[in-house]
């Protein structure tokens, strides 16, 4: 059964059946396939965002750079930020959530498999919509800015600025209003960013709901909340952060879109609107977003460190509660992004204090990770190196972050490269190092093969050195007064040498990523077979064969303790040291055999066409709003909703399963999937 055409399609409401090939990926509801697609898409956007960063660095390599025009530079730092935050780190985390969450809680799929596919398709259509601006965008001079003689000037935009890259959105990733409003950013580029982010938000909201219900309802027998791996906990916290922060940015994006498309006055100071409101709404979302980016990496590190230290995670409950506390406090510190925006001294003091407070749970986590490694028998494989790198780099980024709670100091640092250095230490040195650690660690889970260790270590060291060469000097540049988002600096400013070093560092990072890419391609084809338990792991996703079978667990697992798999393999001697049980190797062999040979046919969620079709309608609505004054736009405003609503009806009517299909249907013990198709 490789194609849908192998059976007569009597009705469009028949569920698709392909399990391999193109259509199986379009119609899949399998959390693993969705996770893999998220991963590849995220890496694709990582490359794009990285290339944008390299262009920025070429421009800044020396004083008075003329590699990019000013408009191109603005577009590049904006799209670099948007891409890395929304199109790389978030979907890369979603890839891990999708692939691992059901495996780690002992489930066969998420609570709503079709909704899971829907959120993936909305994400990818949203990302492509955002970048489709390159076909439509053009550099349009701002209107209404007059010089002292009353002559309308258009900044430094002239004919030579009408370039391809210059037409991309250019308001900074936070799209401050009214700079990104109708007067100062005419043209469609900002609209693409606003509506693109709105679509991406819908995708994230759907997956947040899905993951919350999955964690609460789909756990295997005995998998109590405080027996869940820390990664699952962090997934849950991230899902709640998304759930409560996305509606706020949705409101802000609606308001900004209405300002631009329909002439409302929310952020237009000239009409009585309040630009600072945009900052509040944006950062009320934007600061939780920071934790949305970092907590998944913290979850990954909390899995990799114990396994490679051959010790339980030190203070499991403390790490879990610290993660939840970070989530709570993350909603109370947003105004530290706005200390220079003219908020009152009381607000500054309060948000400064809250910002200091958030260092406490973060510090707890750091010490717990160090406690985990302390006295352990450490295995320095690539995954472990990246995790240790994460802890070290995140400490640096965290400490420079705490300096922002000192308000007068923050005034000095605002909009300088000090800030750029700081947040790259937490988001690159933190989030991305953590994600790479997870890729090296769980690669066998996806492919059944190990990644090459020599290439992996080369990747780590090249990237580690390149990373520090890139971002450490930014702190010094910032304290010397180098301003963010400025496309040139003068030779006499004395900023040249360190900027040159930063550019060298950026290309070193690119070399590291290239090594990773080679490693991925090589290891996927020729990597050493991993067997069932390559890392001597602790959690139950390693009790099933590699690569993961479609049904995940041949028999639903029953959990007896935290780190259940470890306790099946090890007991403790009188001094508390782990001793491998005599039958542990037999156990692994038996698990591998049983995992590959389920006793009965296993019923899995059926694929569906409708998530793909439904998601397709949203970008069409987006184009419709942007071009609503033209006839094509008006047509799209009809066609887009019709596609989405039509798909919704099809979604509701299509059968939940195909009972006559012998391949997918079966009864018997271990054959049921709770919640199958109930999306």
């Amino acid at each position: 059964m490789t194609t849908t055409a192998s059976r007569p399609a009597s009705t469009i409401f028949r569920r698709p059946r392909a399990t391999e090939g193109f259509w199986s990926w379009i119609t899949t509801t399998d959390h693993k396939k969705i996770g893999i697609m998220y991963g590849y898409a995220a890496f694709f956007f990582f490359i794009i965002g990285g290339l944008e960063a390299l262009l920025l660095r070429l421009q800044l390599a020396g004083p008075n750079g003329d590699f990019l025009t000013a408009a191109e530079y603005n577009a590049m730092f904006t799209t670099h930020g948007v891409t890395m935050v929304f199109l790389f780190v978030m979907p890369a985390s979603a890839a891990f959530f999708n692939y691992l969450l059901p495996l780690m809680i002992g489930a066969r799929d998420v609570a709503f498999p079709r909704m899971n596919a829907l959120s993936w398709w909305i994400f990818i259509f949203g990302g492509l919509f955002l970048y489709s601006v390159i076909f439509f965008g053009e550099v349009v001079p701002p209107v209404g800015i007059e010089d002292a003689q009353g002559v309308v000037v258009s900044g430094n935009i002239d004919e030579s600025d009408q370039t391809l890259l210059g037409g991309l959105p250019d308001g900074g990733w936070f799209l401050y209003q009214p700079n990104a409003g109708p007067d100062y950013s005419p043209g469609a580029a900002i609209d693409f960013a606003l509506i693109g982010l709105q679509i991406l938000g819908v995708a994230s909201l759907i997956s947040a709901i899905n993951f919350i219900v999955t964690v609460f309802n789909m756990r295997a027998e005995g998998m109590r909340l405080l027996r869940m791996p820390v990664f699952v906990w962090m997934t849950l916290v991230v899902a709640f952060l998304l759930l409560f922060s996305l509606p706020i940015i949705a409101v802000a994006l609606f308001m900004a879109t209405f300002d631009r498309a329909f002439g409302t006055l929310f952020f237009q100071a000239v009409g009585g609107g309040d630009p600072v409101l945009w900052q509040h709404l944006f950062w009320l979302f934007g600061h939780p977003e920071v934790y949305i980016l970092i907590l998944p990496a913290m979850g990954i590190v909390s899995e990799v460190l114990p396994t490679n230290s051959r010790k339980p995670l030190f203070g499991y409950a403390a790490v879990v509660f610290a993660g939840a506390a970070i989530g709570f406090l993350g909603f109370g510190v947003w105004a530290h992004h706005m200390f220079s925006s003219g908020i009152t001294p009381v607000a500054q003091a309060a948000f400064g204090l809250a910002t200091m407070t958030i260092a406490v749970p973060t510090g707890i986590k750091i010490f717990n990770w160090m406690g985990t490694m302390w006295g352990g028998r450490l295995k320095f494989n690539t995954a472990m190196l990246f995790s240790i790198g994460f802890v070290a780099m995140f400490v640096i980024g965290g400490l420079s972050g705490v300096t922002h709670s000192i308000v007068p100091s923050d005034w000095q640092q605002t909009d300088t490269y000090y800030i750029v250095g700081h947040f790259h230490y937490v988001l690159f040195g933190g989030a991305i190092f953590g994600l790479f650690s997870g890729i090296y660690y769980w690669f066998p889970k996806i492919t059944g093969r190990l990644m090459n260790e020599r290439l992996g270590k080369a990747h780590f060291w090249v990237q580690f050195i390149g990373f520090n060469l890139t971002f450490a000097p930014m702190h010094w540049l910032g304290l010397q007064g180098m301003v963010r988002r400025t496309w040139r600096y003068a030779p006499e400013a004395g900023l040249g040498p360190w900027n040159f070093a930063v550019t060298i560092g950026a290309f070193t990072i690119a070399l590291g990523v290239a090594i990773f890419w080679v490693n991925w391609i090589y290891s996927k084809r020729k990597g050493e077979p991993s067997g069932l338990d390559p890392w001597d792991a602790r959690t139950i996703e390693w009790t099933i064969p590699n690569p993961t079978p479609a049904y995940n667990f041949a028999t639903p697992p029953v959990i007896h303790s935290l780190d259940d798999f470890w306790h099946q393999k090890y007991r403790e001697d009188e001094e508390g040291r782990p001793v491998r049980r005599e039958d542990a190797d037999d156990l692994v062999e038996r698990l591998d055999h049983e995992g590959r040979n389920p006793k009965s046919k296993i019923h899995l969620p059926a694929p569906s066409y409708f998530p793909f079709i439904m998601a397709m309608g949203l970008p069409l609505i987006g184009y419709g709003i942007i071009y609503h004054t033209s006839i094509v736009g008006k047509a799209l405003l009809v066609i887009g909703p019709l596609i989405t609503i039509g798909a919704l009806i099809g979604w509701g009517i299509e059968p939940l399963e195909e009972p006559e299909d012998p391949d997918l249907h079966g009864d018997g013990p271990g054959g049921e999937l709770v919640g199958a198709g109930a999306s």
């Binding site: 405080l226 509606p247 303790s561 109930a678």
Partner: protein, 215 residues
């Protein structure tokens, strides 16, 4: 939850065939996935409307010598349409009750009544917008207060409209299948949760925006 800890942190490796796990009910919440999902979604919706309401609170008084909503509210009219919307929550409960007692005809009747009451409310809102725009000369772009008012109440109206579509599709299923099954009983509950949420939010909007905001 605290007792589960000792097993995990204790010095002894856990015994795999003893312990209290066999007495423990499988720790799902026992709530239907879809129902839990709807609750989770609605918690997000509170933040959505919370942001819009805060926005109105900030902008409600910024008139700049043009007509703002608080000058032109027709409180008696809006009170009646609010009452109609609240009554639709009652009929929703009656529909749910009718289904639980197996009264298919009653279910259909009350579902239809709910959709009708919702439509009356929506019609009232369309009338109100029409009055404000044509007679009172307050448009979406008049001033920030007007922008905030139309966005907030407009998005609420869109939620009511979606709720009416959900009620009608439930009604359609009832007609087509000659009654709602136990499975669709769950669906009715989902629509009910959503409908009550939309009503509750309206109570907040009516109180804060109309009653407290009126000049």
């Amino acid at each position: 939850m605290a007792d589960t800890f000792e097993i995990e942190e204790g010095a002894d490796a856990p015994e795999h065939d003893t312990g209290d796990d066999h007495h423990v009910v499988h720790e799902s919440t026992g709530i239907d996935n879809r129902k839990l999902g709807m609750w989770v979604f609605l918690s997000s919706e509170f933040m959505f409307f919370g942001a819009f309401i805060s926005n109105y609170l900030l902008y409600g008084n910024r008139d700049f010598d043009s007509v703002v909503p608080r000058d032109i509210y027709d409180i008696p009219f809006t009170s009646i349409s609010s009452f109609v919307l609240l009554m639709s929550s009652l009929t929703m409960v009656l529909a749910h009750h009718a289904l639980s007692t197996g009264d298919q005809n009653g279910t259909k009747t009350w579902l239809m009544a709910t959709a009708l009451l919702g439509s009356v409310f929506l019609g009232g809102q369309v009338f109100e917008f029409y009055e404000f725009i044509t007679v009172k000369d307050m448009t979406l772009t008049s001033n920030p207060a007007a922008s905030a008012f139309y966005m907030l109440t407009g998005f609420h109206g869109a939620h009511v409209a979606i709720g009416i579509l959900m009620l009608l599709s439930l009604f359609g299923i009832t007609r087509r299948q000659g009654g709602l099954s136990e499975k669709h009983g769950m669906n009715l509950e989902l629509v009910g949760l959503y409908w009550h949420f939309v009503d509750i939010i309206w109570i907040v909007i009516f109180t804060i925006v109309y009653l407290l905001g009126a000049a």
